[in-house]
Symmetry: C2
DNA sequence: ACTATATTTCGAATATTGTCGAAATATCTC
DNA sequence: GAGATATTTCGACAATATTCGAAATATAGT
């Protein structure tokens, strides 16, 4: 994980609409969510959602799988883990900060 | 930590220049770094750096403290902890993913 | 008050993003 | 292959971001 890649993923998550999309996918768990479902849930134009999904997919944060006529989207947990790991590493290089011990949930 | 706030902080970190700045500050630890030092280290116009610093400060990720004629910048660790906590919470609501156990550093 | 140093604000140019509707594509069913 | 449903691509527009140099501001020392 280099800094460029991290910045791209952070930028991808740093848009309210995309973060909403990503959160919905995370909450959906392993089952994932069809694009159409996401659209109804979030209430934006299908083309706009498609655009955002594309960006999330490009950065590796989301994956898609065809299921008959619908596309199922899923959060890519390992990617998120790596990104969070990058942040935590940066954060804890020289300073002791409690991130991984439950202090962070505040 | 609401989703809007999280998105703003992620967006702030989601720019290569700002992430570089933030990383330098994190690495500098509690001592922090003067603006001028950051500028030399990163090699951008002072005005550009000032602009990015302002954005990082607005989101609460960075703090500044005057020291004679120079301004010392510091990473705000608690803010980072909260943000990482938000991501981890979202990530682990319905799916077991190892973020806080050392698996994430890959 | 004047000078020197450090940083920010201003103004402007270019690039990127977010959004939409309409049209195109893909996949199944009949 | 015609029709139905789901999703993406295209074209466009307004809004925002990134970057710079020049000028303005703040702080300390003489």
């Amino acid at each position: 994980m280099n800094i460029e890649q991290a910045a791209k993923q952070l930028e991808a998550l740093g848009n309210p609409t995309r973060l909403q999309v990503y959160r919905a996918l995370v909450r959906a768990g392993d089952e994932g969510l069809p694009v159409g479902h996401l659209q109804e849930k979030i209430g934006i134009a299908a083309s706009t959602l498609s655009h955002h999904l594309h960006r999330l997919i490009l950065t590796g944060l989301v994956t898609q799988e065809r299921q008959v006529t619908t596309l199922i989207c899923r959060a890519n947990y390992p990617a998120m883990s790596t990104l969070v790991g990058f942040l935590v590493e940066e954060c804890c290089v020289d300073a002791g900060c409690a991130v991984a011990d439950g202090e962070a949930a505040a």
